[in-house]
Amino acid sequence: MSALPPYALMLGIRVGEDAVLVMPFSPHLIGSPGRLHGGAVAGLLELAANLAVRDALAEKSVVLKPVTVTVDYLREGAMVDTFARAHINRLGRRVANVRVEAWQTDAGKPIAAAQLNIILER
């Protein structure tokens, strides 16, 4: 895995087992009372997608540019740890299409899902 950028460190994100990203609960992630801010969850989803594509690429010089990011919010984010895993739908030469899910206590009950197109500049 690549080194995490400052923004990821600000969110407190770390790389867990089996390519799962973990965003441990922290008070600075709260939006409305008792819930995570949707933007923090989106940040986790984007990072999971970027790291998955980065890991899947043989050439490490490729520059990744997320161009479209769509997030569906499925459940309220509670004040507990959040996890995310990315699935690469297609890894082409010029673009990667990625789906990511975030969950908390139950991987079968995602709190958010994202779909991204990431431009690959070689």
């Binding site: 950028p5 400052p6 008070p27 801010h37 949707g38 769509t70």
Partner: protein, 160 residues
């Protein structure tokens, strides 16, 4: 963004209470203090109108995604736009109706310039009984050359 506004508000939430700028600013100042993640990102209020709101996020080292260039994370811009869009729902309703983001799509048109504050301006262009439709842009100084374009929907969770 849901129930918090009612708690910090000293006006009757069933009436239009956001029609003058002083009240809006007073509310937003209190709202910002009550939202830890907005504080963590440094997001602040700029201005608002009948169906729109503008927020800003100053450049900061902890927002950076690419240390080689100093470019800030697209995820931070997503947070800014989610917040601006949420505020546009408040100003359109004229009161603090609880709502939750259903979905938000962000198209990143170009990287924000390192060192520049990013502004997020969103409008609620259609409101039904249960759903608010929003769109907006993020720019780093010139609204005619945005860094991102956003569309999304919010569910009015207080609707009966």
């Amino acid at each position: 963004m849901t129930d918090e506004p009612k708690r910090v508000l000293d006006d009757d939430a069933s009436e239009r209470v956001l029609d003058d700028d002083a009240r809006m600013r007073r509310f937003v100042d209190r709202f910002m203090q009550a939202v830890p993640h907005l504080q963590a990102l440094g997001i602040g209020y700029v201005r608002s109108g009948p169906n729109w709101a503008e927020l800003t996020m100053p450049y900061a080292a902890h927002l950076v995604a690419y240390p080689e260039t100093g470019t800030i994370a697209s995820g931070a811009i997503f947070s800014l736009m989610d917040s601006a869009a949420g505020f546009s729902v408040f100003t359109t309703m004229g009161r603090f109706e609880p709502h939750a983001t259903l979905d938000l799509r962000c198209d990143y048109l170009r990287p924000a310039k390192p060192g520049q504050a990013v502004f997020g301006r969103a409008e609620c262009y259609k409101m039904t009984r249960k759903v608010a439709f929003v769109r907006g842009i993020a720019h780093d100084g010139d609204p005619d050359h945005p860094v991102a374009h956003v569309t999304g929907t919010f569910m009015l969770t207080g609707a009966s």
